[in-house]
Symmetry: C2
Subunit: 240 residues, 2 copies
């Protein structure tokens, strides 16, 4: 390929957008769009920029997630969403892992095709109300009983904002299980490099021509920068 000049190389051809805290504030009521965000998505599309949503959303299947976004006025498709659960299914199949799921009940259908008998790993997502004392102990006992505990975490966020306040994110529960079992989780989702690489591949734009926009300094900005992307932190969502 012909070498491009520095100016061209730094041109922007695609945007990766975080969703929760950028396009809408999530919540038990389904969440509410952030003012101006649907219009911003329309302008991005009109400008010819490629757009991919890069989310650690694990409280719904991608299909349900997209239905919700469309109902809020965001013109996006399932193919435009990169999310941890499909990435985790890929990893599970590759390594012959049979998960015990500690995830949100609305995410369970994403794992419908995966063998879950006699689990040899735990997949942890933002289980929300499923983060009960009993469920955490059950996941812990399965892990500590494995010869070599395998903990796969759908993200490592500290917390996020819902319409009724801040909530502990999956990363906090991941740390609890890591500590109890003296194991290090494998993180699928932001800020894992492989996750951003998948999103870029789906976007069809190289890292140096893409910008990641999010509200989380670690998951969004740090993760994208380690992949060679530029990144912007918005002051909505959990920004404090």
């Amino acid at each position: 390929a012909a070498m491009a000049g520095a100016g061209w190389a730094r041109a922007v051809r695609g945007l990766l957008l975080d969703v929760s805290g950028v396009l809408y504030d999530s919540g038990a009521d389904g969440g509410v769009p952030i003012a101006g965000s649907a219009e911003a998505v329309r302008r991005i599309k009109a400008s010819g920029l490629k757009l991919q949503l890069c989310t650690n959303e694990t409280q719904a299947t991608r299909a349900a997630f997209v239905r919700k976004l469309r109902a809020m006025g965001f013109d996006v498709s399932v193919a435009q969403v990169t999310a941890p659960a499909p990435a985790a299914c890929h990893l599970l199949r590759e390594r012959g892992l049979r998960p015990h799921l500690l995830v949100h009940h609305d995410l369970v259908p994403e794992f419908a095709e995966i063998d879950k008998t006699n689990p040899n790993c735990v997949v942890l997502g933002d289980a929300a109300e499923n983060f009960t004392y009993a469920n955490l102990n059950e996941a812990f006992r399965l892990l500590i009983g494995m010869e070599k505990p395998v903990l796969i975490s759908l993200g490592k966020g500290r917390y996020y904002k819902e319409t009724d306040g801040l909530k502990l994110d999956v990363g906090a529960y991941m740390k609890a299980l890591e500590y109890a079992c003296d194991v290090q989780a494998e993180v699928v989702g932001k800020p894992a490099k492989s996750f951003f690489e998948s999103a870029l591949a789906e976007l069809g734009v190289p890292a140096e021509q893409a910008i990641m926009i999010g509200d989380d300094i670690v998951s969004d900005v740090g993760g994208a920068q380690r992949c060679g992307m530029r990144a912007l932190q918005v002051r909505t969502g959990k920004y404090r």
Copy 2:
């Protein structure tokens, strides 16, 4: 004081005993004594050795805990129990801290005299069934809303054994809140040096003449050794 010879200095005059996993296996049913342990306590007393229970038990007041032990056949008194909650109350008073409690409901009476209005710290114990999603989020929101979050943890155990299986201990939940709030907890209870020093003071025996006996390699053995005590790990309780 006259210098004592090495032989005398290494003589044993007192024992610190962990309780859960050493004297009995705890459980929702109140727990069951470990075979031979009540007899062992009788022999220790008959031998003239001083005895102090050094426990991270935070699922009951000291008074209730001693009633339970006595009902199981252990001849011990409240003064012979060093436990985290009284140590925490001492610390709270010293520093003018007003706690939000995330502890077992049976421990709450230990904090009856402490001002809990307008909390400026969180005290975390092994809350067991009180470790709900809502309660964890509440403690998290209080901490993250403080100008300088103060998290006091009644122990940092990874897990313990109950009659119906292993359970996540307070340390796992401590790690979750530490990570979410980017704060380091102050640990009251084993393996804190100050906690062993209190137990030794109550025992009235210097560190070099005391032995700690427990089933936890970090909380019991490591903590005691850092205080200059010898320590033994038993193969009951959570020993694997």
